[in-house]
């Protein structure tokens, strides 16, 4: 029986990186995964939860759980921080023993970040991609420390034909995005972002890859501001590129 994946597209990926989502669908289907898209979904509430607005976060979690609670199979998303919210924070929002809590625990257990899902459930590291460029990898904080995904994205990248993976100095240091942090403390966010851009530029890579839409927005914007020729891309962009940079 085919593995089933319910797409959890997340706000930022939907608004700013729709091609990542389309690529994810095509890649999963090519690997024999049955992909479904619960169309009623909106925001998981992460920005509210992380900013202390728990009552709003709870409302959005209830809505999210209603939408995904009706589905079966895995729930798969291209964004580490959103998955971290579902896996680790949804259960905290509800009283143990309540119906919502049960739903949250169930959803947490079947929600996966894309690279996690690919490596551990689909059991694919070589997806037949080709990308003859120098690439460096930025470890997004919530993907890395929230979900413990350290090796999966790099294993996927290493299997790509022609790709040269260059280590990024300070790979595991935050890029300064931090959600609302970027507008609450813009000066600090800027300094952190610029340090990240300098590190990326120092590698001589053509492309920097990350696994979270927030980091990519921040890093891509920073690269553009600095006039750098390095492109920021999502892991999925690389795995579906078929040779050329889009």
């Amino acid at each position: 029986m085919a593995i089933k994946a319910q797409l959890f597209i997340t706000c930022l990926a939907e608004q700013f990186f729709p091609n990542v989502l389309k690529g994810m669908v095509s890649l999963l289907e090519r690997l024999g995964v049955q992909v479904e898209f619960p169309e009623e979904q909106t925001c998981c509430g992460q920005p509210f939860f992380n900013s202390g607005y728990h009552s709003q976060a709870r409302d959005l979690a209830v809505k999210w759980l209603k939408v995904f609670g009706r589905t079966d199979g895995f729930i798969v998303s291209p964004s580490g921080s959103c998955v971290d919210t579902v896996q680790h924070h949804f259960p905290e929002l509800f009283l143990p023993g309540s119906a919502e809590h049960r739903l949250a625990v169930d959803a947490a257990a079947r929600t996966y970040e894309f690279s996690q899902f690919l490596v551990h459930q689909v059991k694919a590291t070589d997806v037949g991609a080709r990308f003859p460029h120098k690439v460096t990898y930025h470890a997004s904080c919530h993907l890395l420390r929230g979900l413990g995904v350290r090796e999966e994205p790099k294993a996927l990248l290493q299997a790509v034909r022609g790709l040269e993976l260059i280590p990024l100095p300070g790979e595991e240091t935050c890029c300064g995005f931090g959600g609302t942090f970027s507008v609450i403390y813009p000066e600090v966010s800027k300094a952190m972002m610029e340090a990240k851009i300098r590190a990326i530029d120092s590698t001589g890579a053509d492309v920097v890859v990350a696994g979270d839409a927030g980091c990519i927005m921040n890093i891509a914007g920073g690269l553009r501001q600095a006039g750098s020729s390095v492109r920021a891309m999502h892991l999925i962009d690389i795995l579906t590129a078929g040779g050329e940079m889009s």
């Binding site: 509210f48 202390g52 607005y53 709003q56 959005l60 935050c174 553009r224 501001q225």
Partner: protein
């Protein structure tokens, strides 16, 4: 210095960080982190994780049974001939200390490195009472000369260059000081030696308090801390109630964790154990020993289960060293003597949301601190609770977030929670942005997003996945192929 702050404006403070600060901080923190990584490596990572868990369990056990262990410590100290005082808050702690000082007609007090005395703003209080107080930890001595507080909880003056220190010595001490670490240390040592001999009171903190034997433990890398607790006729230790540990076995575990995490040493140069005044004429040391047990909000922290683990902290400073925010702003931006992630946890709770409501947000929640903390404090989890406390209030504090933010959040969540409004909103944004977009990016945006565009452009709204999905599912009931990179 260290007055108790009235309102911490973290953003303003970050805007005033001297441009040389971040590099100076990063140079020092990367050295500490490198040393730490090497000793942890040598220890073996697996073993290290076992040790961290043990440290966590020991500290959690101690603070969970804090009354029991504090009573035990009190008895032991009293039995050994020491005097124990309980201070509910900073003011009471200062008063107790001033009482002791005035009873002994103290004119000069020498101090070892102590965060607790910074916390209670002891120095200004002593000076106001006409008592000269001298910091003797080299770093503290330097920042005291400069008239500022510590920039780091372990290495207070680490952001200053040798040249800056030489200038400072020249200006304040009137000596010709070459910009060489050894010479500067020598100058400070000579100046301090004279003072030790004439001091009437020695003040110290305590890294740990061993309940079993009533032993105050101090950990330093300079001999001066020990001079403070041995040379003057009276010694007062100011120790937070959270510092209590059950026994010497527990202490061993924590000492191993502390030195490695703080400076990358196996053991600090001086680990001193003080168990009361001399018991016989053959023993030397101050004839009188006082222990001030400082609460200052710690009992309240203990009462909130979500925040309790704040008090596990052994003040190693590793979370400061690894924190990307700290590394770009340094210690002063936090507006509190204890800075960095642990300072945020501590100050937010001790000072409350009205004074320190900005601090829990001074983090990207990257979680590097959680991973490095030797006693496994879930720092970001506590930060999340403290953010919630600012916004919504909890059992112990009232909400402090402005009403417009709360109304905005409510409206935003309501819109995001409705599939119809969400879709409408994303279509509307695509239209509204049109005048701003150039080549897929927006260089300037109105408030509050101008805070984003002041440092990088904002990507254009481009949602079209839902339409794409629809089109391929309705195309003859069969899904069309997707075009990657389209």
């Amino acid at each position: 210095m260290s007055q108790v702050p009235t309102m911490i404006d973290f953003r303003r403070n970050t805007q005033q960080v001297p441009s040389r600060m971040p590099l100076a901080v990063q140079k020092a923190t990367s050295k500490f982190l490198g040393n730490r990584a090497a000793v942890v490596d040598a220890f073996g990572n697996e073993q290290w994780q076992v040790l961290r868990q043990a440290g966590h369990d020991i500290r959690l056990h101690a603070i969970t049974h804090i009354e029991h262990y504090l009573e035990m410590a009190e008895h032991a100290v009293t039995r050994a001939g020491g005097h124990v005082h309980w201070a509910r808050d900073a003011a009471e702690a200062r008063r107790i200390l001033l009482d002791i000082a005035s009873r002994h007609r103290v004119k000069l007090a020498v101090k070892g490195k102590s965060m607790a005395t910074e916390e209670i703003g002891l120095n200004p209080a002593l000076e106001e009472a006409g008592i000269r107080v001298l910091e003797t930890d080299l770093g503290e001595y330097i920042v005291q000369l400069k008239g500022v507080g510590p920039a780091h909880i372990v290495v207070p003056a680490f952001h200053l260059s040798k040249e800056e220190i030489a200038n400072l010595f020249h200006e304040k001490l009137g000596v010709d000081a070459p910009a060489e670490a050894e010479k500067l240390t020598q100058i400070a040592r000579m100046k301090l030696r004279e003072e030790f001999l004439s001091a009437d009171l020695g003040i110290s903190g305590g890294n740990f308090l061993v309940a079993d034997t009533g032993t105050v433990v101090t950990v330093t890398n300079e001999g001066n801390g020990r001079m403070c607790t041995t040379v003057p006729p009276v010694h007062v230790a100011v120790v937070g109630i959270d510092k209590v540990v059950p026994d010497w076995e527990s202490l061993t575990v924590l000492l191993k964790l502390l030195a490695r995490s703080a400076t990358g040493q196996k053991l600090s140069c001086y680990t001193q154990f003080i168990s009361g005044p001399p018991r016989s004429p053959a023993e030397t040391g101050p004839a009188e020993m006082h222990l001030i047990l400082l609460d200052n909000g710690r009992s309240r922290i203990l009462k909130t289960p979500e925040c309790r683990e704040t008090l596990l902290c052994i003040r190693c400073g590793a979370c400061l060293n690894i924190c990307p925010v700290y590394n770009h702003v340094g210690g002063y931006a936090y507006g509190y003597p204890i800075s960095g992630p642990t300072g945020v946890l501590f100050a937010s709770q001790i000072l409350g949301p009205t004074v320190a409501g900005a601090l829990p947000f001074a983090s990207t929640l990257c979680g590097a601190c959680n991973e490095i903390c030797p006693v496994k404090i879930p720092i970001t989890r506590i930060l999340l609770h403290l953010r919630r406390r600012v916004v919504e209030g909890d059992e112990s504090e009232q909400a402090a977030a402005p009403v417009y933010l709360r109304v905005g959040a409510w409206a935003g969540a309501a819109a995001l929670g409705s599939t119809g409004l969400y879709r409408m909103g994303s279509e509307l944004l695509k239209r509204l942005q049109a005048p701003f977009v150039r080549g897929g990016w927006m260089a300037r945006l109105p408030a509050p997003l101008n805070r984003w565009t002041m440092s990088r452009p904002f990507p254009a709204f481009a949602a079209d996945f839902r339409r794409w999905w629809r089109s391929r599912t309705t195309a003859g009931g069969k899904r069309g192929t997707s075009e990657p990179g389209a």
